[in-house]
């Protein structure tokens, strides 16, 4: 059962207080009357199913009744951040990929200095940790 930080109540609460509402950041087309059937269909029915970082909308249903967003890892179920409606995530799959690439390059540089050395911690974990640290 998730432990979710409500960005409006500013407290960690039990999952039982919340309703999941699916993928976040699904914008309704600005001009529904003129958009194509494909665009409308994409908006209505098509959702991502990523392995890893996923941005989701939740409702604090028996709390403050506010909708907000969660960035969650669909593998570890770790919630990386929660943010208010209208805000953008600071942790994204692209962001993590960039961090991982940087970490890899750094590793390579270090390896050149230290003549090898074994990588024991997943770079993505390190990247997540650094982002979380920055948030905290």
């Amino acid at each position: 059962m998730f432990h979710i930080y409500c960005p409006y109540c500013e407290e960690l609460r039990e999952e039982e207080e919340f309703h999941p509402k699916g993928q976040a950041h699904i914008a309704r087309p600005e001009e529904p009357d003129t958009c194509s059937d494909e665009e409308w269909g994409d908006y209505l029915f098509f959702r991502d199913n990523p392995r890893g970082i996923h941005h989701e909308m939740w409702l604090h249903a028996v709390g403050c009744r506010k909708f907000f967003n969660i960035t969650r890892n669909t593998v570890s179920y770790e919630i990386l951040e929660t943010y208010k409606m209208g805000e953008q995530p600071t942790i994204t799959a692209e962001h993590l990929a960039r961090e991982e690439k940087n970490a890899r390059e750094e590793k390579t540089n270090n390896a050149q200095v230290a003549e090898g050395g074994q990588q024991t911690v997943g770079a993505s974990d390190a990247a997540v940790a650094s982002v979380k640290g920055a948030q905290a």
């Binding site: 059962m1 998730f2 432990h3 039990e14 999952e15 309703h19 509402k21 309704r28 087309p29 001009e31 529904p32 009357d33 958009c35 059937d37 409308w40 908006y43 209505l44 909308m57 409702l59 249903a61 009744r65 506010k66 909708f67 593998v75 570890s76 179920y77 770790e78 919630i79 409606m85 209208g86």
Partner: protein
């Protein structure tokens, strides 16, 4: 001593049982005695009971193997009475109490005289892996019959047929640190964290805390381990920030450090919880713990070696032998052979010898064992045979001898001559497997460690394994590891921790030689021909079955598991999984890490349904919602219908002239006539009500409803239709304009909460610029619908509102008083008759309701329920969303073009989808009325409709009946239905072929059966 006479295997001294008290218990109908401190298993062994069960598939005799949760055989049915039956209890985990009654779970008619044994003996060559799948697959229709037989012969325990007399509690807890396991690692971690000031919960599944300290040979600070244990537990108990939970199993590790603990409060005291101060105590508590940090100090399970006939009673785990001797004062035999791959198991031989029984030999797979315990065994004069193993046990109901020979572990073959050693007990140890179940529940894959020859948990933030759970075994290292885990977790929580090395007890450091990786012992015969070598005792999975599975092409360990049933049942592979993986790896010619591991899922050990359900049963299973008039409905003998969580009066049966009670048909016919001819009243309080306020409330309504709201004046009411953005109808109801910026929306009863959420969703995510507020007022207002031609006359004397048909028109609402209390009265109609919906604040409701009936006596005011409401509304063609619609129906399909504002300026929710090709196409299913040709027929709701009754099967289905009733007004059955292109087919016949072969014919008609012009509601 007299006790030892009745308990032949009980030692005169030693262990932590209270020999001064005798407890009487019954197993398979025989009465035995044991002592406080015993488990059912230790008491059975003390009494020399070798045979505790029959095996699952081959019906072989089985005895006790282990001393804890990993026990595969001693799985019993507990309970002296029918109501207190508990299935699948591990005898090793059940404390003995006076009057305990248990039976073997398997064995028909009983474990001693087992009919299935003969089938097992004769049939075993014909029972390959996948036997049940292969044999009982065809014909599929017979499976139910087979299953009953298989269940009876091989099944696990049974559930009671009577109601459980016990109560169970749930508790929610929060802590900084949850420590699972109160062995040396858990205790030292808890002490460290407690001193740092962290709020700690320490849970341990056993009857007593201490883990391995309860039976270790080691000393701490030169004292027996029990002394340090006692001091430490006392020290922990003194800390206010520490909660000690003995007899508590952490059975599930869920997301974000949410752990469920099952605390057995009274299961060690009796069949049913005893009372305390006049109150029945809960049998168990389920603690739902949210922890900041979790330390898993769950220890390790010993692995048995896999050799031929290793399932005959008398084959035990080496560690279990030590536990029974040292903790319970029970020696489960006379002459023991120990087969081992490691030093640690030597203590079983030392304990056995010190108990005064004979150790025939220690058979060590290593060629040159050289640890301290080895030296100690040799010094004690015990024969040590090196480079060898027990290949095979002899004996039927009990071990009679061990066949021993030199083996080449790497080449997997027997290299020496076989020696037969007479004995009645074979203890074996193939090393230890860390208990990684809870760590696996987090989803983190375990990692193989060559150093400890076992899987260890991988790293997850906030969870740390400590001690045996991560493969640290020597006691001094375990204690230090616990402290380190405590320090790390406390530091992560922000506590300032200082550790004094002097706090750690002194433990003599002991030299242990390296362990040899032995799992399956080779036999002179090939695995497929050798006597059965059991890998998973509970599910009767043998090494040969696994080999067959790999020969048949199963390569994934997950497939092997499912094909052979390895790791199923109550023990969930605690004992057999690693050995099974090792055998699979050997057969496939790969390493264990290449073979992988199966993932453990909750629960670690079985949890009773009572504990899971807690108090959420019977009337507390789901909340029931009542309207303020509930007591009146009950007093009037109403029958109730569940609508969501609401209890709604369904109909009010009256006494007939003959003294009997009206049937539902008779009551509904009477109620319908009352409304159409006189006056009736409905409790409509359950309708959802949402108060909407704000300068943009009107604009908001225009965007969320399909129809127009710009011109609705205060004092007026309008019907609204709500669609999803896919254009499908999702709710309907009336919305009244209370003031320029103030509206009251009603929703269907079941949709009140979803509609509120829907409004908030659009407001918060798409249109936050709109200044509008929503509030659920469903429970604040009670609603009474007074309807029928006499409604106005009845109300006139009760209200100060002018009820004149011109002053108070249809679809108006007025504020005033009814029966002296403030009221809102709405002239809306769901029956098609003159109707007034009276809304009063809920706490006035009963007063108003009774005042209406007092005045209504003169008019024979008739209360009606939901069934009559349905008939009356259907006669008028009024839809029920969710009954006449199913999420694929547009307003156009319902023939409600009049409620669609295509020319509204804002692209309202659902509009775009109504112009898609699919929602515009010909031949969509459309709502129509159906009039059966035979007036006495009431069509079945859900019945399929066809155009051509003589078409070959499969007939093209063109729609179905959505609502169908008998109308007392029409004196005929009638129905609403969706039919392809129905609006263009008025007057045509359709057919409804029924399951019983009858085919009903019906005519497509308008949905308005009664008063099609709508004149009656305007009077």
């Amino acid at each position: 001593m007299s006790q030892t006479a009745s308990q032949p295997n009980r030692l005169a001294q030693g262990g932590q049982v209270d020999r001064t008290q005798a407890l009487t218990f019954t197993f398979n109908g025989h009465t035995y005695t044991g002592h406080p401190g015993d488990t059912l298993a230790s008491a059975l062994l003390a009494n020399g009971v070798d045979l505790v069960n029959r095996s699952f598939k081959y019906s072989r005799p089985r005895g006790i193997v282990a001393s804890g949760a990993e026990e595969p055989n001693a799985v019993v049915q507990l309970g002296a009475t029918e109501a207190t039956q508990v299935p699948n209890v591990r005898a090793t985990q059940q404390a003995l109490y006076d009057g305990l009654v248990a039976r073997s779970t398997n064995g028909w008619p009983d474990a001693q005289r087992d009919i299935m044994r003969w089938i097992g003996k004769l049939g075993s060559p014909f029972m390959p892996p996948g036997f049940y799948y292969k044999t009982f697959m065809a014909p599929a229709s017979m499976w139910m019959t087979y299953e009953k037989f298989i269940r009876k012969t091989a099944g696990l325990g049974r559930s009671p047929t009577q109601s459980d007399p016990d109560i169970y509690d749930h508790m929610h807890r929060h802590c900084d640190m949850l420590i699972v396991g109160a062995g040396p690692a858990g205790l030292s971690a808890a002490l460290t964290a407690a001193r740092a000031g962290a709020r700690v919960i320490l849970a341990d599944e056993q009857e007593a805390m201490g883990g391995s300290l309860l039976d270790t040979r080691e000393t701490l600070d030169d004292q027996p381990a029990a002394q340090w244990l006692k001091t430490t537990l006392a020290a922990l108990a003194e800390h206010d920030n520490v909660t000690l939970l003995p007899r508590t199993t952490a059975h599930g590790y869920h997301d974000h450090h949410f752990v469920t603990l099952h605390e057995r409060r009274t299961e060690h005291l009796g069949d049913s919880a005893p009372s305390k101060a006049g109150y029945r105590q809960p049998r168990s508590r389920l603690h739902r713990v949210r922890a900041g940090q979790v330390i898993l100090a769950t220890g390790a399970h010993e692995r048995p070696l896999v050799y031929a006939n290793n399932d005959v009673p008398g084959n035990l785990l080496a560690g279990a032998v030590s536990t029974y001797i040292r903790r319970y004062g029970v020696v489960p035999g006379e002459k023991m052979v120990l087969s081992t791959s490691n030093d640690h198991a030597y203590r079983a031989a030392l304990d056995w010898q010190e108990a005064g029984r004979e150790v025939v030999a220690i058979v060590d797979a290593r060629t040159a064992p050289q640890g301290d315990l080895v030296a100690q065994a040799k010094a004690a004069g015990i024969r040590v045979i090196t480079g060898s193993a027990v290949l095979e046990a002899k004996g039927a109901q009990r071990v009679s001898a061990a066949r021993v020979a030199a083996i080449d572990v790497d080449a997997f073959r027997v290299t020496g001559k076989v020696e037969t050693l007479e004995c009645d007990t074979i203890a074996s140890s193939g090393g230890y497997s860390p208990v990684i179940h809870l760590a696996s529940h987090t989803g983190a894959r375990p990692v193989w460690s060559d150093a400890i020859i076992g899987f260890v948990p991988s790293t997850v933030a906030g969870v740390a394994a400590s001690g045996g759970a991560r493969g640290v075994y020597p006691l001094d290292e375990v204690l230090a590891d616990g402290v380190e885990a405590g320090v790390n977790a406390a530091t992560a929580l922000g506590f300032d921790v200082t550790v004094d090395d002097a706090d750690l007890p002194q433990v003599a450091s002991r030299h242990e030689g390296p362990v040899c990786a032995l799992f399956q012992v080779p036999h002179e015969k090939a695995t497929l021909r050798a006597p059965k070598q059991f890998v998973d005792l509970q599910n009767d999975v043998t090494a040969s079955a696994i080999e067959v599975a790999t020969l048949e092409g199963f390569e994934s360990i997950e497939h092997v598991k499912r094909y052979t049933a390895m790791g199923f049942g109550t023990d969930q592979g605690k004992l057999g999984n690693i050995n099974g993986m090792a055998v699979t790896a050997r057969c496939l010619g790969q390493s264990i890490p290449e073979t992988g591991t199966t993932v453990f899922r909750p629960n670690y050990t079985p949890v009773t349904f009572g504990a899971v359900v807690g108090r959420h049963c019977r009337e507390l299973f789901d909340p029931e919602r009542y309207t303020p008039m509930q007591a009146w409905h009950v007093a009037r003998g109403a029958e109730f219908e569940d609508v969501g969580q609401w209890k709604r009066p369904w109909y009010y049966p009256r006494k007939r002239a003959d003294g009997g009670l009206e049937s539902i048909g008779e009551a509904v016919a009477r109620e319908c006539r009352a409304v159409r001819e006189g006056v009736g009243i409905l409790d409509a309080s359950t309708l959802g009500k949402i108060d909407i306020q704000g300068p943009d409330a009107r604009e908001f309504l225009g965007r969320i409803y399909t129809n127009k709201w710009q011109k609705l004046a205060p004092g007026r009411v309008r019907y609204g239709l709500m669609c999803g953005d896919d254009g499908m109808v999702m709710d309907d109801g009336t919305t009244s304009c209370l003031a320029e910026n103030h509206f009251l929306m009603t929703t269907t009863t079941g949709n009140a909460a979803p509609v509120l959420e829907w409004l908030e969703l659009w407001h918060q995510t798409e249109w936050p610029e709109l200044d509008v507020y929503f509030n659920s007022v469903t429970d604040h207002w009670a609603t009474m619908t007074v309807t029928g031609p006499e409604a106005r006359k009845l109300l006139t004397d009760l209200t100060d509102i002018d009820l004149d048909r011109e002053a108070f028109k249809f679809m108006d609402w007025r504020e005033g008083h009814v029966a002296g209390v403030p009221a809102r009265v709405f002239r809306i109609s769901f029956t098609g008759e003159l109707a007034f919906e009276i809304n009063v604040q809920a706490h006035y409701a009963m007063h108003v309701w009774e005042a209406l009936f007092a005045r209504g006596e003169a008019f024979d005011l008739t209360p009606y329920g939901t069934e009559t409401m349905h008939v009356l509304r259907a006669e008028k063609g009024f839809i029920i969303v969710g009954q006449d619609t199913d999420g694929s129906v547009t307003p156009e399909d319902l023939g409600m073009h009049w409620a669609i504002g295509y020319d509204k300026p804002f692209p309202w929710v659902g509009k775009r989808a109504l112009t898609r090709a699919d929602t515009r196409r010909e031949g969509r299913k459309q709502l129509v009325g159906l009039k059966p040709k035979d007036a006495s027929v009431v069509l079945e709701e859900g019945a399929q409709i066809v155009f051509e009754p003589n078409h070959a099967i499969p007939m093209p289905m063109v729609g179905h009946v959505t609502s169908s009733y008998y109308s007392p007004t029409l004196e005929s059955g009638f129905a609403l239905a969706v039919v392809k292109g129905g609006h263009q087919r008025m007057g045509e016949s359709v057919y409804l072929p029924m399951v019983d072969g009858r085919v009903h014919e019906a005519e497509i008609v308008s949905t308005q059966f009664v008063d099609p012009k709508g004149e009656r509601q305007h009077v």
